[in-house]
Structure formats: C-alpha cells, structure tokens
Symmetry: C2
Subunit: 258 residues, 2 copies
DNA sequence: GACTAATTAGTAAAATTTACTAAATATAGG
DNA sequence: CCTATATTTAGTAAATTTTACTAATTAGTC
C-alpha cells in the first residue's frame, strides 16, 4: 500500500479482500547490545505509538497474515512467530477519539458510520523474536514512523497495546524455558557468553556465568565450531551454531530449561 | 434462544447484537470415574458433533462470551476458563456442505449470500475444566443433542474442532504443571488418592503412588481436614480441601509441579 | 483375631542443581 | 619477553531435589 489511492480504496472497499471485525497485532522483539527492544509504529493519523498490525486477507491463515505484517515492517522473512493471546474487550478501541477531519480528508466521507473498519474489532496477538541487526525498518502510506524502543522505556501506546506487550513478554519468557526461541535473536554463529547475556536480558535476571552455559550445552542443540572469536586481550571463546534439526524437533517437542 | 421465532431472528438480524466474523468455541473437560470426558453438542441441522460455541455479544468480553456459553450448556457458573488458541484458516468452515433446504425451511430465504453468519469466521478457543458430577446438560432451539464423550473415543467432529480439541488438551496438560487447575475437577473435599487418580487421568501417565501426593502437599495449597472418608475394608484416608487464598495466588503467580 | 488392601510416613540411593575453585588463554603493557 | 589482567571454561564438592523402595498404620472382611 504505497499510494494515496490504494489507501483510500483499502478504507472504502477493503472488506472485499480482508475479513472485517478481526485484526492481528505483532509484538516484534529484537535484541541489541544487551537490551531488549520492541518495534513500534505510529500511524499517520495518530499521535501515539502502536504495535504493528493489520487485517487478515480472506485467503490467508492467521500466521500468514502476521508473517506478511512482520515482513512489511522489518523486511525479514521466516522469523519465529507465535500466537500469544486474542483481545476482544468491547471498549479496546475508542472510535470517538479518531480525527473526523483527517477521515474526511482521506475518504471524502463526512461520517464513518457503516464503514467496515469502524466496528468492534477482535485482535489476535502474535509475538516475534528476531535478530535486531538484520532488520531494515520500513513504512507504507498509512504509517508515519517506525522505530525500535527499549522495552524498559516504552512510550504510551494506543488502544490496549500496553496490555498486549505485557502479555507478549510474559508468554515469550514462559516459552523461553520450553522452546529454543532465544536462538532466533542471535546471528548464525555466537559464543556462549553472547547467548548467556541474551538470556539474562530476556528473562531480566542474572544467570550463573559458569553453570548456565553448561545447561545450554546439555540441551544438545548447539554445535561447537572449531572457529573462535577474537575478543581482544582475553582468551578467545569458541563459536557455536545451533543444530537446525534438533532445533526444529525441540520447537515441536518442547524442552526444559531451568 | 428457545423459540423458532428467536432463532430465525438471530440468523437474520444477529449482527446487530453480535460481532460478525468472530466466534468462540469451548472445550469443556469433565472428569468422572477415572476417565476424562469432553462435552459435545450436535446442531440440529448437522449430522456430526461439535464443540459448543457461539458468537460474542457486542457488549461483552471474550471470556464473558465463553462463560455465557458454558453456562448455557452446563448450567455451571464461575468455572475455570482459559483461552488457548485462535483459529482462522480460510477453509476451516466449508459453507458449501450446509443444507440449503433446512436453511430455506428456517429462514424462508433461498440463498445465504450476504447473511452475516455465512462468512469467514475466526474462532477463539477456550477450554474449561469442571466437576463432571455437578453439570446438568442443557440444550436450546439450535441444538439437537448435548452429551459427554470419553476423550479417548471421540466421534468425528465438524469444522476444525478435532484440531481444537488436540490443542486444548495440549494446553490444559501444560497448564496442569504450572497452575492448580486440577482442583476445579474435584468436589470440595477429596482424598489424596482421588487427586492422584485425577492427575494420572489428565496427564495420561502413571504417577508414583507415594511421592506424587507428597509433591502436591509440598505445593502448600491443600488443607488437611480432620474428617476422613470411609472406603470400605481399608484404612480411611484423610480428606483435603484446597486453600482458596493460596489457590488464587498460585493461579496468578504460577507454580512448578514435576 | 488373622488377613487384606489401601494410606502414608520414612529413608536411602540417585540425580540434578548450585556454588565455588582454578586452569587455560589471548593480549596489553612494562 | 614476561607478567598482569580479564575472560572462558573445565572440574568438583556441597546442597538440594527426585526417585525408588520399605514398612508402619488402619478399617474393614472373613
């Protein structure tokens, strides 16, 4: 959706291609220099930030819609995506707060009564975890800004998106103990210290410097590479990669990390 | 919805009071004589069984809709209800399989083109666990039958409801290790053997006869009563009840059972 | 009153987790 | 070139938890 014309057509006739009354919202987590980041967007007719989201095409599944959405904003494909909760409180969206003048400016309509977008909308929340450094933030006609924020200092969010972030974070942390999702936030090759620091950041707590890496190795998902990383005036740590096959199996079967 | 007239009005004008394109479905689990049961209904115009479900009123939250639905079918209020997943595959409902003649009979319409019910519908899945013996199954005008089935021998289900049951069961079993939901399936007072048998049934595996009850006690949620239960020619086991306050806290904070 | 079968307390062995020590090592700086 | 330093990482002992097993208790029944 890049032109004004396309945007107007989406607003007026989108219900022909998209399912009304339902949307998806994505909490995209990224990790960078020992901080957990969240990607937020600002719609061009709104003053506060929101989670990126959108409607579901009539031909696609929920996860395909979320995937398309994430790809649109990050340029990334195939990243780890997981449904965490669906939100449907009757007053999660306050339509009376919307700007009537902007609406007229875009659509030429004096009222949004009967418009498919202006109705009670249930939203399916997904969270994604990704390697921050590989993302290339992108916008389209409906989005004014797109940026990463530290999870610890998020701005006020539109709708019930603060609640969504809380739930997404909670689910992600729970999953961290049961699925090897942390590996999605690291580059192909990484050291034990790097994955240790990642888990400390994601879980928001200290993990033993010696024992935690041993536990990770004991899970059997890591391949020790012969390569090492040079980190200056210190012993060079080994590089590791993860075993794709065992990773996929662990995603399906689950695992236990303490 | 008890009269034919109300049913017809719901079909024709329900979108005024209910949100279109979204529904909820409930997997209601009950426990009885060491088997796990699932409540199923059969719609009067369908040959196979389904999970009970329905649309969401414009004034209610998702969990309120699920709660209303469960109450309608079981007569029970305030039972443990938990969202587990939302389903939205584009072909989860095959409208072309519906019976055109029955449709005409009820509505007087020769086509369902444009009817609010006959559109792509996303469904939010909830599961509930309840004390089987307290339920009183109920139907309304749209439902032909309502019955309990052994989880091990379910009939073929409509739509994607088999998938839903699988997911509900999976989530319920995961929650069993993290929240004290099992207590919802027992009467007010119960013996350690009874709760032991319950967990074996729910998890589908053997649990040590001596150690497992000790673990449950160690969680600190149980109150040992002075009363005992008479079980015939054997030592009378103590009765236990659960501590409401600690139970509520454990639901919120989570716990770890192995 | 002995027998039976279930409850439940107790305990030893096994396994796991945690806490701590120290060896290995890469580079900087003298 | 040698030592100091910071980090990785192997090793191990202590603490804790889990598991496996034994046996005491007890309410009927025969």
């Amino acid at each position: 959706m890049q032109t004004e014309e396309e945007f107007k057509d989406f607003i007026l006739n989108g219900h022909l291609h998209y399912i009304p009354n339902v949307s998806i919202d994505c909490a995209i987590f990224g990790y960078h220099e020992q901080t957990l980041k969240l990607m937020l967007i600002r719609h061009r007719n709104m003053s506060s930030w929101s989670l990126p989201g959108g409607h579901i095409k009539r031909s696609e599944t929920l996860v395909e819609a979320a995937s398309r959405n994430v790809r649109m904003h990050t340029g990334l494909d195939n990243l780890f995506l997981q449904q965490f909760k669906t939100f449907g409180d009757p007053n999660r969206i306050q339509f009376n707060k919307f700007d009537k003048e902007k609406w007229f400016e875009i659509t030429g309509l004096t009222s949004w009564e009967g418009n498919w977008l202006m109705d009670h909308t249930i939203s399916v929340g997904f969270y994604a975890v990704t390697d921050f450094s590989e993302t290339v933030l992108q916008t389209d006609i409906s989005i004014a800004e797109c940026a990463w924020f530290d999870i610890g200092s998020l701005p006020p969010l539109e709708f019930d998106h603060s609640e969504m972030v809380k739930e997404a974070l909670h689910t992600m942390r729970l999953h961290l103990y049961h699925y090897p999702i942390g590996l999605n936030m690291l580059p192909e090759k990484f050291t034990l210290s790097e994955i240790h620091a990642l888990y400390e950041t994601l879980l928001g707590k200290k993990l033993d410097v010696s024992n935690f890496p041993k536990k990770l190795i004991a899970l059997g998902l890591l391949n020790k590479l012969t390569e090492k990383r040079s980190i200056g005036a210190h012993r060079s740590p080994h590089l590791y990669s993860f075993d794709r096959e065992k990773y996929t199996l662990a995603l399906k079967e689950g695992l236990v990390l303490s």
